[in-house]
Symmetry: C2
Subunit: 417 residues, 2 copies
């Protein structure tokens, strides 16, 4: 049996405890949705003031040079690189994850068309975050030429598709947004490359949550959000990484001025910049871009291994406490118990999932709900402690014991959950 | 002869004089680059604070509903609509101008392919802002199928191309970024439609600068920046307008979750939202998006006709004063003198253009330089007066009289001008 005192003791000896002070969290809230929108770094307020009044207001157009707006996509990219196992010059922050998938999948298709023109299958997971599937559909519809999307439900599906030698590229969620299933990147890359397919990793639910080695594991492409575990701010622009071996020679189709070799020469023809900058397109939302650095700098002052250790302890604790305190309420754990296959969130299935999440939110415990029937709790080790997990589960127990979820107002679905 | 007293008198009787107080401009600066990065509305500071501390920091994920982040693209779009002659539900603010051109040109190509499958020519101006040409190239390369880009240098080029009956769509800059040439939208639309081609207007240098009637003139598509004359903030997301007659039935290829009919149903297949929302793609940079409203609200409290009248008086004045004060220094006016063909900036060609602009900047007169040899001065009637124009030309005269531009430091080109 785990009790509150044990949780308090773990908090006391926690090496990451000090980081909570760098985040502005409202009083009385246990925030378990940092995997959807990361909390606000306290530094973001003064930086926002500076960007608005000094960079925009006073320095105006000159800030492209003096505040290095021009270098933002690669400067921020090089910081993210340190969290994903990449070297400098391989990552940019730009546009959205969805658009970045369009770019890298276009590049993957071009690369493969040169060597394996007969291959036409793009593989993705049935359970991928839907926007990945939507943009793949959009791309395939546009280029036609017989390309088709095939959805897999398991690794076995993947392996048998790979055996067909028809696969161009495989798009995988490094950590599944719903279940929290965490792929073994190295093993999967080897399987995919064995059959000469390329891999695109969607890191939305893994960057800042788990350590990874994109380059050492010989991944091909990666994309992902900066506004979840990385605390970049609501809807902040996304990351895009390309293995240097694929960077040159392929011109992604969203070719805009920022990706041009000489952006100010006003040339009539597009000539892509060397290296990763060719994945840039149009002008970026500078205020949102600037704020990303606050969260990144916190991450770079700590260690992803420490974060991972605490994440596993907290998710273990969450699972154990729900089993211990809420066993009679019909929650079905859908997140893997195996550490090597678990990201940094914990999900349960419950037929009243939506109303239960609403009742929890009313108590200040912010988790989220995902169709169908999934209660999802994000675990962010930099601003959550062991007592928070204890308290969250006690709230859940109370919601269930007193059937608070039956309150009618919790059953009316809003537009965004 | 115009003198300073005359300019002061005009300022006194200026109905728009009061609006300058709504913008934070640095002391001692005459800002003639609002056509590149609009000045900061004073309201943007408190709004940025609110968005960071309250919406992001305190309300967290709930702000999607409580602060209506979810409705931002269309709520802002409906405000812009009032400045471009469009109705509600026809405009979104999202992504960048370059990406939005990719979307609407893709739609235009699909529409035309159904009725005129043999047509393969996309027309754009040789003197278009280059990113428009780059993204057209990217799109054409990707879809192949024989599409090609043909560049025009004059209206006569356009008309003879249209006569060939090969034209799918024409992309035109409503106001040219370099010369300030301003198209007669109504007349050009008629010419283009007469030959069954479609028109895409790039409004980057016209929205907020000149009145326009997109719908009444039967335009097909429009895209444009919010960070220039509209004062939306550095790199703020762009506008996209589609004539309602083209909105349904065509699925633009950058299909992401935000454009889905049921974004939270987590459906595996893309089903575009009805209407203009289908031009949305991935998650938007909320902080940058939110700040756009400050500038828009200023515009909506005034009148584009008044702005246009003052703009023409100021640009007339600028041209007259350069002629009167600087006639011996070799400036060649490249902006049309005819009101109906002039936007809201004035450009001169001078072989020492780059160094002259640098010397002016050192004096606090911020204009910009565009290759080749173009000095460009943006005229923004909401925060510039007649005396500002007088003073700017006096500075120019001094730079030339004392040959300040010969100072070596002004001749070293930086990365961004």
């Amino acid at each position: 049996m785990i009790n509150r005192e044990q949780c308090l003791a773990w908090d006391k000896e926690d090496q990451l405890n000090q980081f909570k002070q760098h985040f502005a969290l409202p009083e009385g809230v246990i925030y378990l949705d940092g995997n959807s929108l990361g909390a606000q770094p306290t530094a973001a307020l003064s930086l926002a003031n500076h960007v608005v009044t000094q960079e925009w207001g006073k320095d105006l157009i000159n800030s492209w040079n003096t505040a290095d707006w021009w270098g933002l996509p690669t400067r921020l990219g090089d910081k993210v690189a340190q969290l994903i196992g990449a070297d400098s010059g391989e990552t940019v922050i730009t546009d959205s994850t969805t658009l970045n998938l369009f770019k890298v999948l276009s590049a993957a298709i071009k690369i493969q068309a040169e060597q394996y023109p007969e291959r036409k299958v793009i593989v993705a997971e049935k359970d991928a975050f839907p926007t990945d599937l939507y943009i793949i559909e959009g791309l395939i519809n546009q280029i036609s030429q017989g390309y088709r999307l095939v959805l897999i439900e398991s690794n076995e599906d993947l392996y048998s598709l790979l055996d067909s030698n028809e696969v161009v590229a495989v798009v995988l969620s490094h950590v599944n947004y719903r279940t929290g299933y965490f792929y073994d990147m190295s093993a999967i890359n080897a399987k995919i490359h064995e059959k000469n397919a390329l891999v695109i990793w969607d890191l939305c639910h893994s960057v800042g949550a788990v350590p990874m080695e994109l380059k050492q594991t010989d991944s091909d492409f990666a994309i992902g959000c900066t506004y979840k575990y990385l605390n970049g701010g609501p809807g902040s622009p996304a990351l895009l990484w390309v293995n240097p071996k694929h960077q040159e020679g392929f011109w992604q189709p969203l070719s805009g001025w920022w990706g041009h070799q000489q952006p100010f020469a006003m040339a009539q023809h597009y000539q892509p910049s060397q290296g990763i900058r060719r994945y840039l397109c149009g002008t970026q939302p500078i205020v949102s871009m600037r704020l990303i650095e606050c969260g990144l700098d916190i991450f770079l002052s700590t260690d992803m291994q420490l974060i991972r250790e605490k994440s596993l302890k907290l998710t273990d604790l969450f699972m154990q406490l729900v089993e211990q305190e809420c066993s009679e309420f019909g929650f079905t754990l859908i997140t893997p118990k195996q550490h090597k296959h678990r990201g940094s969130h914990v999900s349960f299935r419950h037929e009243q999932g939506y109303a239960i999440i609403q009742a929890l939110i009313a108590r200040g415990v912010i988790g989220d709900y995902r169709e169908p029937e999934v209660l999802r709790f994000g675990i962010t080790p930099l601003y959550l402690g062991y007592e928070d997990i204890w308290n969250a589960v006690q709230h859940l127990k109370n919601v269930m014991t007193h059937a608070e979820w039956k309150n009618k107002q919790y059953q009316i679905r809003g537009s965004v959950t």
